[in-house]
């Protein structure tokens, strides 16, 4: 399409103080965020968090109660869905059952007023892009779930939307296919340069594909950031707990000095970590430590460490999880990779060990 703007800071979608209420139930509370052009943006959260509602508002299927939604600078609230230059990949594909694969893919272009021949030619190209040319004349019911998924993708991409909305598109596929589709989707996004807004409840999916992730829960935006930042520097307990696995420890902050906080874990354990704005001396908060940022040793190392007793080792394929009981404190989980290097650090249950922490591994969380 004519729009060749590739500057990373062109804003594709801007959500401005958007609230959605159904009667007395508030589905979304004052959400504000901007999505850049060419971005792979993910709305991540558990079911009922409002992520699908937000997506449907961008598509035009739900009214906005308060606030505005802009698409490339234009207010779109008054436009019905068929006037918005966005397309959607629906959760259960929603392919037209009485039309062939080609007719499904050509539908949007025909509606835009292209000639039947042109629409079909373009549909052919799209089917090639998703490697389904062989199935062009089939009916959707004659395709597997994965193939239907690709048809839905081709259909939504064919009209060259400015923004593609994807509503949990992989959730109906089996694990292997889901994993393969992640890379395909990411590649497709790079190839087409179309902004993708992807809704999922699967944190792994979100982490592998997204440029940026908006973590949502209970109708609120919990944290917005690059995949890596969300994982490494979760802002609050919900984000730390929802994304990946973590050790959540209750701590009280003894002292905050020079951007470092000294925290008391109870049982005589003291850890120091980066201070976080809004958490001062005397605060009772949670601390998150990712299990893979911990390692075990017999004696003290240069790193900060906690002494404890190995309770159990759990084999999880790629990793080995070691559960260590701290005295008077909670259990703490340590993850070592199942490699020669990692296996060298396996300790038998009952053994006294030091749990060492990589620098920057401990994060204080607001509640």
């Amino acid at each position: 399409m004519g729009n060749t703007a590739s500057a990373a800071d062109t804003v594709a979608v801007s959500i401005d103080h958007v609230t959605k209420r159904y009667g007395t139930f508030t589905a979304l509370r004052d959400i504000s965020l901007t999505i850049a052009d060419n971005e792979f943006f993910t709305l991540l959260g558990p079911s009922g968090c409002g992520k699908t509602t937000l997506l449907r508002m961008i598509a035009g299927f739900e009214d906005v109660t308060e606030g505005e939604i802009y698409l490339f600078g234009d207010e779109i609230e008054t436009l019905p869905p068929n006037k918005r230059p966005v397309n959607t990949v629906f959760q259960n594909y929603a392919l037209f059952p009485h039309m062939s694969v080609t007719d499904n893919v050509a539908f949007g272009l025909e509606m835009l007023g292209r000639s039947k021949a042109e629409a079909r030619a373009r549909a052919g190209e799209m089917l090639e892009l998703v490697q389904l040319s062989r199935f062009a004349d089939r009916q959707p019911s004659q395709l597997s779930g994965g193939q239907q998924q690709r048809v839905a993708l081709a259909r939504a991409l064919a009209p060259q939307p400015k923004v593609l909305l994807l509503d949990e598109p992989l959730s109906a596929l089996d694990l292997k296919l889901r994993q393969a589709m992640r890379y395909e989707l990411k590649a497709l996004q790079r190839e087409t340069g179309i902004t993708f807004i992807f809704v999922t409840h699967d944190q792994e999916e979100a982490l592998t594909m997204s440029d940026r992730i908006a973590v949502m829960s209970d109708g609120r935006l919990q944290q917005l950031g690059a995949a890596r930042d969300i994982y490494e520097a979760p802002h609050n307990v919900f984000v730390a707990d929802f994304i990946g696995e973590t050790n959540l420890l209750e701590v009280s902050v003894n002292e905050v000095k020079d951007d470092r906080a000294t925290c008391d874990l109870g049982g005589g354990y003291i850890l120091s970590c980066d201070a976080v704005e809004g958490i001062g001396q005397g605060a009772h908060v949670h601390m998150s430590i990712r299990p893979e940022r911990l390692f075990l040793s017999d004696g003290p190392t240069e790193a900060q460490s906690l002494e404890g007793t190995v309770r159990d080792n759990i084999f999880v394929g790629t990793d080995i999880q070691t559960i260590v009981a701290l005295r008077e404190g909670p259990d703490i989980t340590v993850r070592s990779s199942n490699s020669d290097r990692g296996n060298a650090r396996i300790f038998e249950p009952g053994r006294a060990v030091h749990v060492n922490m990589e620098a920057g591994a401990a994060r204080l969380l607001v509640d």
Partner: protein, 309 residues
């Protein structure tokens, strides 16, 4: 897919063949006693000779069919020319039944759509409301309709009172009155099958169409209607077929001019003027026509389904 289904069916029939024969016996009995036997009787009667005070003489005769199709002049001794009287009645019946079907579809489809899109809890209530008038006998309903529509009836009173018209509309004894009567008699048969298929419709398909730039009208035409087509066809058949053979509405609302097949057949079996073989022959011709229409529709639907995989 079709091949797979067929082979599955034959495998099962090998295993359960005997049981199936016995279990289907009641169905065959019902079909024989209530459908096949009466039709066979009618077929036989249509080839018998008429008795003047009703009834038949057991003598083979083609007179009934001859009377239907052939005009042999005043004294019945001329060669066969096409007799238009009955063909016209048939044609008018088809036209009337067709108009009533279209009217039912135009009113019934939005009604069914409305009910199917209500919250699940209240849908049975709406269906119930639709069927309530049909607890009253058809004859009483049709007579009541005549009272509503007649020149001094409530409808005309209302239109006159509001000043919309100056003279009462003459509706009774017109084709339109018959169409209205038929429409009202069989409306639920249109609403219920369409409701059933719209209720099963995946409304995400309509969203997908809107998402792909289709207007509401295009979505209806290209996505919703094809998806609920079986319900629409079933509804049309269920209204058209009984309308075609109906005699209450034409008799009571249409007057003598707007005679339909149902009335023609009814008269042959009523009182002393009757002609049983001719009534039976007319019924057989009607049956044949309906069967041909149904076959065409069934073939079309089968083709559509084959196309849809």
């Amino acid at each position: 897919m079709a091949a797979g289904a067929a082979s599955g069916g034959s495998a099962r029939s090998d295993t359960y063949k005997e049981a199936r024969t016995w279990l289907l016996l009641p169905a065959w009995a019902v079909l024989t006693i209530l459908v096949l036997a009466p039709v066979a009787m009618m077929l036989v009667y249509s080839f018998l000779t008429k008795e003047f005070r009703g009834g038949v003489i057991w003598e083979f005769s083609l007179a009934a069919y001859d009377q239907f199709f052939c005009n042999r002049g005043l004294f019945g001794d001329e060669p066969c020319a096409i007799e238009w009287t009955y063909i016209n009645i048939f044609w008018r019946s088809i036209w009337q039944a067709g108009a009533a079907t279209i009217l039912s579809l135009v009113i019934g489809f939005p009604t069914a759509y409305f009910i199917a899109t209500r919250p699940e809890r209240v849908r049975p209530l709406w269906v119930f409301l639709i069927t309530i008038p049909y607890w009253v006998n058809l004859l009483i309903r049709t007579v009541s309709m005549k009272f509503v529509l007649r020149d001094q009836g409530p409808l005309n009173d209302l239109l006159l009172a509001t000043g919309l018209i100056d003279d009462p509309l003459r509706i009774v004894n017109t084709n339109f009155a018959v169409q209205l009567g038929l429409f009202y008699s069989y409306l639920p048969f249109m609403v219920l099958p369409i409701y059933a298929s719209v209720e099963r419709y995946n409304f995400t398909l309509s969203e997908a169409a809107a998402d792909l730039y289709a207007s509401k009208w295009t979505t209806l035409r290209r996505v919703l209607l094809p998806a609920v087509k079986p319900g629409v066809i079933a509804g049309c058949i269920l209204v058209f077929v009984p309308s075609l053979g109906s005699f209450l509405a034409p008799d009571l609302l249409g007057g003598a001019k707007n005679f339909m097949i149902g009335s023609l057949i009814e008269e042959q079996f009523k009182g002393n003027a009757g002609n049983w073989p001719f009534g039976a022959a007319s019924a057989m011709i009607l049956l044949t026509m309906v069967l041909i229409i149904l076959l065409i529709l069934a073939r079309q639907q089968a083709r559509a389904q084959k196309g849809a995989g």
